[in-house]
């Protein structure tokens, strides 16, 4: 078993139009956490929303399969780490727990 050194992995699968969901997630973030954007959540890896998320100072990941499916590969903020399913699983193991925001 690999050692868990990170805290909470926040998994978001909705667009930022779900303002309450994003607010809840932000309110619970602490240093040591990270955010993974999946499904419709990957739209938040672009534009102003990406800037807002990066300001939170936690690692920001986005599932590449969902990015490609939505045709936004060219618009992803360069500071977002685009990950495949295997890395998603690795993150889920490296962080002590996950919270799914949906």
């Amino acid at each position: 078993m690999s050692d868990s050194i990170f805290e909470t992995l926040h998994i978001i699968n909705k667009t930022s139009s779900h303002t309450a969901l994003y607010a809840d997630c932000f309110n619970t973030l602490l240093p040591g956490d990270a955010i993974v954007l999946i499904e419709s959540g990957v739209f938040s890896a672009c534009g102003q929303q990406a800037n807002d998320l990066l300001k939170l100072q936690v690692p920001l990941y986005a599932l590449v399969i969902d990015i490609q499916a939505r045709g936004i590969a060219d618009s992803i903020n360069s500071q977002v780490s685009c990950i495949d399913d295997d890395t998603f699983v690795s993150l889920a193991c490296q962080y002590k727990k996950s919270i799914s925001w949906f």
């Binding site: 909470t8 309450a20 809840d24 309110n27 602490l30 996950s98 919270i99």
Partner: protein, 120 residues
């Protein structure tokens, strides 16, 4: 078997989809397995707890009475946000169960203490 502390998050008002009931059922089931369960009521979920709900005319089973049973299942760690109480002009005295009102920053540290979080 390691002790697992479980946090269940409620986010919906009464008479919405089944997620409040589904989450409550998880709480009762986990209590039977001696899993320590705490509950966090966010935003509209606070409205689920208002005293004096009379839903007979809706012909829909009301969860409020089952929430009152939580203490009988030794589930007494219930949390909500001070900001939500202010938003809905409520106080904890308006609620049918005994809840602890916390700030957003306290919520973040609260969540840290749990091994598993379910947020339906």
């Amino acid at each position: 078997m390691a002790d697992k502390k479980l946090l269940l998050i409620f986010r919906n008002p009464p008479f919405s989809d089944s997620s409040n009931k589904d989450t409550l059922d998880i709480a009762l089931a986990c209590s039977a397995f001696d899993i320590p369960v705490s509950l966090l009521f966010l935003h509209d979920a606070v409205l689920q707890l208002i005293k004096g709900q009379q839903s007979q005319a809706l012909q829909q089973k009301n969860l409020i009475n089952t929430f009152k049973a939580l203490a009988m299942y030794d589930i007494d760690q219930l949390f909500l946000l001070e900001s939500d109480l202010r938003r809905f002009a409520l106080s904890t005295a308006d609620l049918t169960v005994n809840c602890q009102a916390i700030s957003e920053s306290e919520m973040a540290t609260l969540i840290r203490q749990f091994d598993t979080v379910i947020n339906l």
